[in-house]
Symmetry: C2
Subunit: 230 residues, 2 copies
DNA sequence: ACTCCTACCGAGCGATCGCTCGGTAGGAGT
DNA sequence: ACTCCTACCGAGCGATCGCTCGGTAGGAGT
């Protein structure tokens, strides 16, 4: 029982955990280059050098420069989608909580994985064929998750927005935008920033900042009680 | 008197007016190519072909590929800054009105000039040397304008934000983000979108949507009266 | 001992890149 | 009539690009 509870808590919070060096070294080298010079501005020789490989050595692992980009972008979208679903699942049945955790998750990802998210967003143009289509579908799915929760909240009367669709887009954009400016050596940790962004997002829906600043582990009873808030 | 008033009104609203084909044909061709393939993904031959010039013909007008990008980006930033200043000036002394018009202006620009704004934001990496520094300074100046107005509004008690700096960044990001997704054939005109974004932005500062949906020309008396609102 | 297989390279190929050389055509000025 | 100047090109140069050829080194399996 004790073990199961601990494990459940651990799983439930997995979407908040970010390790370093999650990418294979070669992909990490490619990502660094892409961030610095862009996909087309990066040469295969630069990537190889940064990964301490020869050019043929690099091609042993990936078939082409394009394959490197595809692998990076697919990793990014998969990671974000899994985390997003976990976050919503952890929230339980409260729409307000679902929204709060999803935005927190979105912000957290774009701060912690800013390079990854930056490339996934800025190099869509550089993706060829099907991987481009697939990537755009992932993006749309991500937006749809936020749309759905906001619509649900509108129906239940928790949220108040004149134009929910536009508000949803604005919220997602401001979260994904984090990847463009967030610096690890800045003033805020990803966690602090994510809390602030969740509150800012709530305000656009007419929900007060609702200062829930404690750790998630302290007050798990709130979500359990089947009380309709509004 | 009649002429002067008319001219004043016209000047005051100049920041709302967007003509087409404002760029020289060659720069427009370059912009189209950059939007489609990115700066490094664009070849000088492609630009020349789209502008119906030979390659040496192109180099008669601009010294290098980099010069094309610099010209485009400088045009974009100059245009946005001038419009922003005009918008704030038109607002008069009311901080709330200054904020509303500045956000409207920002959103309007990023919808009307989405290609221009998109390149100006996404190709910073591709700018070399001083023009890169200058461009980043322009960006910061733009952010600072919003910061200043929000801070002023906080001091005067018009706005309510837990973290004004973060809210300001979120607002600017969601406006500049418009350039990434706005399509001319979409559901909303730039003007409609800008009004909605101004309202969404106001909500993040605890100010209700304040449905001021009429034309700007109907109620100019509000800004004239030197009344402190709060 | 021998056969695979994985993980790599040195050298270089064909294509394409940004950019230039040495021009011309035609209008404006005197 | 002559001199500029602007607005262009055809052809091509040197550099660099993505990618490949034909290898080797060394560990695992039998």
């Amino acid at each position: 029982m004790k073990v199961e509870t601990a494990k459940k808590v651990e799983d439930a919070a997995a979407w908040r955990k970010y390790s370093e060096n999650m990418l294979p070294p070669l992909l990490q080298a490619a990502l660094d280059c892409f961030v610095e010079h862009g996909y087309h501005g990066t040469t295969i020789r630069t990537v190889a050098a940064r990964a301490k490989l020869s050019v043929p050595g690099l091609y042993h692992h990936y078939a082409s420069k394009q394959a490197l980009l595809v692998a990076i972008v697919q990793f990014a979208m998969k990671d974000l989608l899994v985390r997003s679903e976990d976050a919503v699942a952890e929230a339980g049945s409260s729409v307000e909580e679902q929204f709060r955790l999803l935005i927190e998750c979105l912000a957290l990802f774009h701060a912690h994985r800013s390079e990854l998210a930056f490339i996934a967003a800025s190099e869509i143009r550089s993706l060829e064929g099907e991987s481009r289509t697939a990537h755009i579908q992932s993006r749309d799915k991500q937006q749809q998750m936020v749309d759905d929760i906001i619509n649900q909240g509108m129906r239940e009367g928790n949220f108040d927005a004149e134009h929910p669709k536009d508000t949803s887009r604005a919220i997602v954009t401001m979260c994904t935008g984090i990847a463009q400016w967030y610096r690890r050596d800045g003033e805020l940790t990803p966690e602090e920033l994510a809390l602030r962004y969740a509150n800012i997002a709530r305000m656009t829906l007419g929900v007060g900042p609702g200062s829930r600043r404690e750790s998630v582990f302290t007050a798990p009873t709130v979500g359990d009680a089947p009380i309709v808030v509004n």
